[in-house]
Symmetry: none
Subunit: 223 residues, 4 copies
DNA sequence: AATGAATGAGCCTTCATTCAT
DNA sequence: GATGAATGAAGGCTCATTCAT
């Protein structure tokens, strides 16, 4: 009764997000989704034109809802936040979009689904890359550029951006394996803010080091 | 001679590593593998007892070969390396195991295959976790413990370990998406040493910061 | 006005005639028909009770319209035409009913649809056989009987009737294949009168020969 | 036991010929065929690559077997037969290929299947047209040319050929409908020779008439 | 009177697996 | 030891039909 008011279409998308995330595109059957969502198998074809159409819709929905709930950071001139604050907001947004439990259904699968696309993008991801991911990356690089100054070569900026994103994404996707090898590890979705805080600080330190070394005669042999 | 008279069994494993890595378990058919390896479809069942058996063998082989070529770091007492050097060795080994091109076939898929298992472990991964991954993680935590001292709580150690691994893994798996949104990005497998170097330095900075803050009244409000 | 405000029901029948004729019963979907006719898919069930109901209506309409536009030949006593003239009228009517382009929509498919039913009658054809085809055949046999006299056995009459009908029907249905193997062939629907004329003459000759041989000691060895 | 020695592949083709002929391509399911042939549904895909592949094989087999059992007529110079005899042979061959019961399975459907293709050729028929039908038609036209002499225009030759073929084909395909409207009609496959004889004589008469009229001022008004 | 939403049955195809050789 | 033939299970999709409005 609590879920009754949601339309069948909506319900299919939520269920599909979860199941696609859990099993991947190929291993998911529309029969699983239909059964879980309480609709007929034909409904998927009726609403989305097929399995692929549903998948594309799922991907798009994840991003559109994600960015509408946790908006990206404003570019430099349009906000009063310092660069550090912008970085913090960026990291928090990225992690929340992937793993925040409240908000909409299909939580556990959402992060894994995105990470799968990042490892091995499908056709359905192209649109999302242009619309959401590329701008997102541009914002991060501009933040880093502001934080690290002009001495740091473009290449280093990019690598640092990847270092930051890599952390966010692994926290969002690696939960399973981490929990298995480190039982004392705190579950991500119940401790998001601790994670966000950690990634932020670790990255601040990393950036500082990269900046420092780029200024002088950085080298590993210095160690 | 060792690679010349490669047995059918061996050839199937190599081919399978590549194809599984590229397509995932479900989307890979044993017919693809058999065709590529030049053997009969029934051979897979004959040698490995089925698709799942082959997959398990592939996973096991990746790790056994990986760790034999790029051995893990020795525990503290058994080596003369400093903690920093041990961290560097750890990072380099981890990345090389995932993406180094030389050594054995099916490279491009190898990293993706492992990352997939890390996101969503299958039955076949259990064995590998116990035999390779858990010890590997223990080594890393002990290195960090030595580097950061006793003031840093266990929790922070673990989070830092994940931050380091997250970078390694993302560099190994996110190549596709990175290359698409940042064409100026340097391809991982052609620049492994630059990547390794960067991750090492970035992590040094991050660890330093975490250590620093753990010492006093660390807090975000300090920013 | 009569064709201007054409009702939805009417429009469905015309469209269906065309599409059924082109694709056959099974390969035609009511969605094709509904889309082409500009109505809802449910309309077919609403008006005709289902796909089969619509098909039956289409078949019936083809014959009722066909015979109303190109009436059958009057029996002997009720007309002043000679037997030859009656045969000519019969042949012309038969061919025009199948392929005449003017008159009503869905022309190209009409002939093929009828021929399909003749090869392989469906339930829907039973009614049409009793109402139109059997009387039609009776008329032809009576014409032949008059032309060939009493010496010719019933069996020969029937065979001759089939020879005449076979020509008409093949001209109406075999257009596709004929055009493909004989490009110099004249398209039926643009040269109906030439065809009609030819079939008439060819049949006159055939009938004469059959009559001749039936009179004496007909045999192939006479050749 | 009697059919046991036939291979599964062979048995599928025979069954398929019958069922395709009865129902057409679309309305036939491979399940019907598999059940009737006593094989698994997957066997169709295994042997023929799919429903369409099987269909193509069926069409090809009908013609290759048909022409190998009832060869076409030799061209003029290569035989001692008179033109009349060659026409007789042509007609007999054509009808036998379509309806002769002895020889191979799937009789009842064979003729109908071909006629369906003649009404509405599918992709699978293209090959057959080039290989069998076009040469066949060429032979007939050359026979007619020899019989009717040079005065008859090409156009008339072609129309006459169609008149002859139309009869053969209708006898082979229209059995159902004929039997229903004329119970006294003799079943084709039990009386092939009578039919062949009739078509031959009727056609001789038709040709004579066409030739006669082509010589002078032929016209319908002459009647 | 007419329609859009939704369904259930069935079809073609794919694929891992088995078995006789 | 290794293979080609054949199969059963299951999946995506199509389509006529139904039902509430």
């Amino acid at each position: 009764m609590e879920q009754n008011q949601i339309s069948a279409r909506e319900r299919i998308i939520e269920t599909a997000t979860d199941i696609f995330g859990r099993n991947g595109f190929k291993a998911t059957t529309i029969r699983m989704i239909a059964a879980e969502a309480g609709v007929n198998v034909a409904a998927v074809n009726y609403y989305f034109g097929g399995k692929e159409g549903l998948y594309a819709e799922v991907i798009e929905t994840i991003f559109s809802k994600g960015f509408s709930r946790f908006p990206s950071v404003q570019p430099d001139g349009e906000t009063e936040m310092t660069a550090d604050e912008r970085l913090f907001t960026f990291i928090r947004g990225t992690i929340y979009r992937l793993v925040s439990p409240e908000g909409w259904g299909g939580i556990s699968g959402r992060g894994r689904l995105i990470v799968k696309e990042m490892i091995e993008p499908t056709e359905a991801f192209n649109h999302v890359i242009d619309k959401y991911i590329r701008p997102h990356k541009t914002v991060l690089v501009s933040i880093l550029s502001e934080m690290m100054g002009g001495d740091v070569p473009e290449q280093r900026l990019l690598l640092s951006a990847v270092s930051i994103l890599g952390q966010c994404i692994y926290y969002a996707s690696g939960t399973n394996i981490i929990a298995r090898i480190a039982p004392e590890y705190l579950p991500v979705d119940k401790n998001i803010d601790v994670i966000v805080d950690h990634v932020f600080r670790f990255s601040l330190g990393g950036l500082a080091r990269i900046k420092l070394e780029s200024g002088g005669t950085a080298a590993r042999e210095k160690l």
